[in-house]
């Protein structure tokens, strides 16, 4: 399972790449694999305020739908519009071209609530 070392992870299988006061957010390789073929990603508008662990969008696969939760609180500064036409990019490149939103953090200290790669790997192996 692909779990990059430079990212932070939520218990609901989102990842965050924190660079300064901005975080790029997506779902993990494990999450995309569990969902299967992703056919639509519903993302918030730029400017939307999001809160840690609260839904900010949805990810629709052929057979299942899942909330996309915000791993961190802040304001949406950018959304990945290319997913509108090619949502399956999330299946192919969950940590790269399959990123979903960027947010300007309102409380950088919240990062302490997230797991590092080792912590996420451990959680996943315990079947959560």
């Amino acid at each position: 399972m692909n779990i990059p070392k430079d990212l932070k992870y939520s218990a609901s299988h989102e990842w965050a790449r924190i660079e300064g006061d901005t975080a790029t957010i997506g779902i993990t390789d494990f999450a995309q694999g569990e969902l299967g073929d992703i056919v639509f990603v519903e993302l918030p508008a730029v400017g939307a305020k999001v809160s840690q662990n609260k839904p900010l969008g949805t990810v629709e696969a052929v057979k299942a739908v899942s909330d996309l939760n915000a791993p961190l609180s802040g304001e949406v500064t950018e959304v990945n519009r290319s997913l509108e036409g090619t949502p399956d990019v999330v299946n192919k490149d969950a940590y790269g071209a399959g990123w979903m939103v960027k947010i300007k953090l309102s409380n950088a200290a919240e990062a302490a609530n997230l797991m590092d790669a080792a912590g996420y790997d451990k959680m996943e192996k315990h079947g959560h």
């Binding site: 299967g36 056919v39 052929v62 057979k63 739908v65």
Partner: protein, 366 residues
Amino acid sequence: MENKTPFYEHHVKAGGKMVPFAGFLMPVQYQGIIEEHRHVRSAAGLFDVSHMGEIEVRGPEALKFVSYCTINDPAALEINQVQYSAMCYKEGGIVDDLLVYRYPEHFFLVVNASNLAKDFAWLQEQSKGFNVTLKNTSNEVAQLALQGPKSELLLQKICDLKLSDMKFYWFGTGKVDGVEMLVSRTGYTGEDGFELYFDIKYAGQIWNALFTAGKEFDLRPIGLGARDSLRLEMKYCLYGNDIDQTTSPLEAGLGWITKLKKAGEFNGRDVLLKQKAEGVKRKLIGFEVEGNAFPRQHYKMFKDGAQVGEVASGVFSPSVAKGIGTGYIKAEFAAVGTPFQVEIRGKMVPAKVAETPFWKHSSIKK
């Protein structure tokens, strides 16, 4: 602890993602549901359906008994013909849907995996007073479904039956790769295809023989995910979603297999006759939704602000590239084209009753 079918190791080797289903560990997908779905519509796919239940009914009153327990008319079957049917409780709810195979002297019933124990106990209970014997052969039988427009050409390479002579919903007993088995022109995908039933000890041999013969047709293993999206595009019912003990066959659109005028008594007849005379209050319809929202089981259906139904099955349809579903809706809103809304995570999404099947280009040879 889940059971394993005799093909478990083959699924794992082929990259199948194994999940618990109906008491078995089964592959939900290999390469991805959409790709597998399209492959069955255009070429050929192999499904392990060994988890299904098989029951033999023998004895002088086998026909009378099967007729008493099912709503279709097995007396209308010729020898070597297959019938899609359902079993009803006396109250009209559905015990299970099934396939009925007619042999010269006996019947062979194929029921849903998740219902096998319930069905067998129920059949045993019903058999009191009939001169029949029932045998659950599920643990001895391996079952594969070869589906897709290239199925006949593929199977003919290793089968000694003349498949071009076999019509849809007929079967024969012949050899595949030298192994004697039941071969029926049946399946649940909306494509031409065959179901093979054989002794479990030949499972590995037959799996390998099919993939060897299937190389030139790009035969691929297909998981439960595509099985579900394929059957839903045909509006074929799935027990537990579209039908169960609370739904009657007339509500489920299974009037075509409900033979109210057949000879002899059968379970559910009185209730179904009354429903037929009075009309049902709700119907299972097919529908499609607008935009990129997809219906899921138990989502609510609304008309003018009032709830008028509930989604039974829902999926993103790979063939029509839309959200499609089935649902029970009040009968007055069941006409094709009727607009309504589905509540999808708090939003009212426009939908309309659709013509079914959703997939119109079936390769089934009638």
